[in-house]
């Protein structure tokens, strides 16, 4: 009986020891003075999807030049995951990771951390957005009916009409403006047009063109991506 107890205790102690083993080498050959996101774009995808473009950061020395050999760790918060979770910056001081969004819609924060020579953590923050089915449907509808004016970026397939309008349409990412509007007003603008609510008539009424549930999907999409919430 006693022998067994001692054995169990020993095993427990050993298990405890595992956690406090000496730190492994981080592989870093250089240390930066600052870290910055390469692109400030907020990427949007379906829940559980791998984002189209990798998230990239650049570690800089004190003069602001990219520095090779610095170790960067990526941490995803609340259900998203990153592949790889850490790595060493390349020649240009940059390193990128792919992000898979979590299974619940909403905003996912990601942090890239590197350490300076003194061991102090330096961080760059990212936000990514996961859309549920209805929000994603809203995005499809928005791409067809809204983005030509509301997105000022032109793509190879679509020339933006944003700059041709007298009252510049709001970007759907612009939460400062859009999230101040109550749901009923946002709905009225989309359904009955700008003129009906004392805004620009350049915003046409969609009530007869899109179904009520389609309009609700577009609003769900706008609410999902407009920030700050």
């Amino acid at each position: 009986m006693k022998r067994r107890l001692i054995l169990a205790l020993t095993l427990l102690t050993l298990a405890g020891c595992q956690r406090s083993r000496p730190p492994v080498s981080t592989g870093a050959t250089a240390f930066g003075a600052s870290i910055a996101a390469v692109s400030q774009e907020t990427q949007v995808g379906r829940v559980g999807a791998l984002l189209d473009r990798p998230l990239a950061v650049q570690v800089n020395d004190a003069d602001g030049n990219g520095i090779a050999g610095a170790r960067v760790e990526f941490t995803a918060i609340g259900g998203a995951s990153v592949i790889p979770a850490s790595g060493i910056t390349g020649e240009d001081g940059q390193i990128a990771t792919r992000v898979r969004l979590g299974d619940v819609s909403g905003r996912y924060s990601l942090v890239a951390t590197t350490r300076d020579r003194a061991g102090k953590p330096l961080q760059a923050h990212f936000t990514t957005i996961a859309l549920d089915y209805r929000q994603a449907l809203g995005r499809e509808l928005s791409e067809k009916h809204c983005a030509r004016c509301h997105d000022e970026r032109s793509t190879a397939e679509r020339v933006s009409n944003h700059d041709n309008l007298r009252a510049p349409p709001h970007s759907f990412f612009d939460g400062t403006t859009l999230n101040k509007l109550p749901q009923s007003e946002l709905l009225a603008i989309v359904a009955h047009g700008g003129a009906a609510v004392g805004r620009s008539p350049e915003m046409p009424p969609y009530a007869a063109t899109l179904s009520a549930s389609d309009i609700a999907a577009v609003l769900a999409y706008i609410r999902a991506i407009a920030g700050p919430t």
Partner: protein
């Protein structure tokens, strides 16, 4: 130890004497045991998982302002949707109690309301779309995969697969499913795999792999060798997969294919040394004919520009023989009957210039290291064996090789594939979506001898393909309930105009009554909308109406006769039954109406946000240019278009303005005044 045991035995005996010593004692003891046993059942019931969730729900709602209403609608106990004809017994609402409570949006699962959906759960249940084990009443058994129940809940990113079980036509709400299905046809997956869609039709490839019957007229054996080694090195947009062939295998296959080619060698081109000016003129012609609407080419900055209906032309000069190219451009159907390439009416001079330009798109280093000795009979025999093994004839016509039947596994019910029948490669999670994903990404990971080749799909493409495959379930009973027999409308114009239609391949881009492509406007009611003089001019020399459009109608160099023939056909056949063409008499529209129309156009309806009518001042890029709309469209069409464009062309970007007759008449009057003969000014 022994003493202790003796003692214990003595005590047990004493206890037994006390409990069962007399019949009265025994009765009492058994009664107590019975009560205890009976208590186990309610006690166990008390701690059921679903009951815990229902209690949680009650606690969640009790502090809310609408607590009374919520409490009233809450139904305690096991809730089940039972649909015997669909074999659905879904107890999901037992825990997901608030599926219909829109006011609870934002709370965490399992109490979040279901987003609005096109079908009622009482009609289809839950598991028809979401999968999982419907009868289970524990979280683990309902959602996860167990030995007894292999289909776990479908991760949300594949959820569109549920719609594809019944719906065959592309839905606006299922972009992934639509894209996955189009990839299955565009990359020729269905040339090898049989796949019957929910509508009951067998999916046909849309990649149009070229016939190899006369390949030696078109190109050299060296090119074939180099291409089959690595198609993407020649054209990064090529849909032919990389088979990972060894040098020897590629040598033997190219030898066999070249040996099977028949047909006379074409006469070599006279004066085939083209000058720079011819190349330059050819480039201009390439642009004017809008070849890029269908063909892609890498430009000087390395970007691939153009459509994907025809092959990429970046290195076409090193691929095809110039004499073949000239013959092809003259009349493509002569070499390849059934090709999608229109018959351009090019003059001999145009032909020479276009051939010179395309011939200059060379990349000879790709062929520099290819030196093939004439193929020996044993190499050719080995090539034939490989061609049969790899299933080349599933896509390409090859003389002397039959189209293989059932070459690859049938995918009609792959979405219900039992996991027991799946051979999992190491490192792949045991679920159907994970298996399909891994198989598409790298088929040879499942064994070097696997025949399936590898395509370099992007992550989004892989997900879309998995969605399209998961939609292929064996739940036909669900389908029968919703889907009326699907009928495809095969429209084919007849007569002399019909010949022109097929010669020019109008339906590669335009659609009529549901048949045809979606690259260009629907022509179903074109005859009700346009004026004859404008149409004849446009057919002879299509100018662009929409400044923001990238793809444009090519110039076919039609003769006066051909243009008139087509215009007559379009004007008499493509008529809408929605109105009579002389409903609005243009001569009766007044100038008062027109001036009111102008203020409505620029004011209330702000049409200038999207259309350019005054080339000097208007800037809208989205809709067609309206500077000459009075010459192009007739008044009745414009009137009805303003009232409800969606009724005339569903899905058009133009809104249903739901406009009243007076406003529509006024704006029609204003638009009919726009007959300026100046050329429309595009964006500057």
């Amino acid at each position: 130890m022994n003493g202790l045991g003796m003692n214990l035995a003595k005590k047990i005996r004493a206890l037994a004497r006390f409990l069962f010593g007399s019949s009265a004692h025994a009765f009492g003891t058994l009664s107590v045991l019975l009560v205890l046993l009976l208590a186990i059942v309610p006690a166990k019931d008390r701690f059921r998982e679903w009951l815990w969730y229902q209690n949680q729900y009650r606690r969640l709602i009790q502090d809310r302002p609408d607590a009374t209403a919520l409490e009233k609608r809450f139904q305690p106990g096991i809730q089940q949707i039972w649909l015997p004809d669909l074999s659905v017994t879904d107890r999901c609402p037992t825990c997901h109690v608030a599926m219909k409570e829109a006011s609870l949006a934002g709370v965490s699962q399992p109490f979040r309301p279901h987003p609005p959906m096109p079908h009622s759960p009482t009609e289809f249940g839950c598991t028809v779309c979401h999968r999982g084990q419907g009868v289970a009443t524990t979280v683990e058994e309902a959602h996860r995969s167990t030995k007894a129940w292999e289909q776990p809940i479908l991760p949300e990113r594949f959820l569109e697969a549920a719609c594809g079980q019944c719906h065959e036509q592309p839905l606006p709400g299922t972009p992934q499913l639509n894209s996955g299905r189009s990839l299955l046809t565009r990359y020729g997956c269905v040339n090898c795999h049989k796949l019957v869609t929910p509508g009951g039709s067998t999916m046909q490839g849309a990649d149009r792999p070229p016939s190899l019957r006369h390949i030696s007229q078109k190109t050299t054996r060296e090119w074939i060798y180099s291409w089959i080694r690595d198609p993407q090195a020649w054209a990064s947009t090529a849909t032919m997969p990389n088979f990972g062939l060894s040098d020897d295998d590629a040598r033997d296959i190219s030898g066999f294919i070249a040996s099977q080619s028949t047909g006379d060698q074409l006469a070599s081109m006279p004066g085939s040394v083209a000058g720079d000016s011819a190349i330059e003129q050819g480039l201009k012609l390439y642009g004017e004919s809008f070849c890029a609407s269908c063909h892609a080419m890498r430009n000087a900055s390395g970007t691939i520009v153009g459509g994907n209906i025809g092959p990429e032309l970046t290195r076409v000069g090193s691929k095809v023989k110039p004499e073949w190219l000239a013959a092809w451009l003259k009349n493509p159907a002569q070499y390849l009957p059934g090709t999608a390439m229109p018959h351009f009416r090019l003059s001999p001079k145009d032909l020479e210039q276009l051939t010179a330009f395309l011939g200059s798109k060379k990349d000879d280093p790709l062929l520099a290291n290819v030196h093939l000795d004439p193929a020996t009979p044993s190499q050719i025999a080995h090539g034939r064996k490989l061609v049969n093994e790899k299933g080349c004839a599933a896509c390409h016509e090859i003389n002397g090789v039959d189209h293989p039947e059932n070459f690859a596994p049938d995918l009609t019910t792959v979405g219900s594939l039992p996991l027991a029948r799946v051979l999992f490669a190491p490192g792949i999670a045991r679920s159907l979506p994970d298996y399909l994903e891994a198989k598409i990404r790298n088929p040879r990971a499942f064994g070097k001898e696997m025949k399936m080749p590898r395509n370099d799909f992007s992550d989004a493409q892989v997900t879309s393909l998995v969605v399209a495959l998961l939609a292929q379930t064996d739940r036909t009973e669900v389908r029968g309930k919703t889907q009326p027999a699907f009928t495809r409308n095969e429209f084919q114009p007849t007569g002399r105009a019909g010949q022109l239609f097929s010669d020019l391949h109008c339906l590669s881009c335009h659609s009529v009554n549901g048949t045809g492509g979606d690259l260009a406007p629907d022509l179903s009611w074109e005859g009700s909308s346009v004026r004859r003089a404008w149409l004849v001019d446009f057919l002879k020399n299509p100018n662009t109406l929409r400044p923001a459009l990238i793809r444009r109608m090519p110039r076919f160099q039609l003769s006066e006769n051909e243009a008139n023939l087509l215009a007559d056909y379009i004007l008499s056949v493509f008529q809408t039954p929605a109105f009579v063409s002389d409903e609005i008499d243009e001569s009766k529209l007044t100038t008062t109406e027109a001036s009111r129309g102008k203020s409505l156009y620029y004011g209330k309806y702000a049409c200038n946000s999207c259309h350019v009518l005054d080339a000097e001042n208007d800037k809208g890029y989205i809709g067609p240019v309206l500077t000459q709309v009075g010459l192009r469209l007739n008044a009745t069409w414009v009137f009805h278009w303003l009232k409800n464009a969606q009724a005339l062309r569903p899905g058009s970007l133009e809104l249903n303005w739901n406009m009243n007759d007076d406003d529509a008449r006024a704006i029609t009057a204003f638009l009919m005044q726009q007959k300026s003969s100046r050329k429309p000014g595009g964006p500057k």
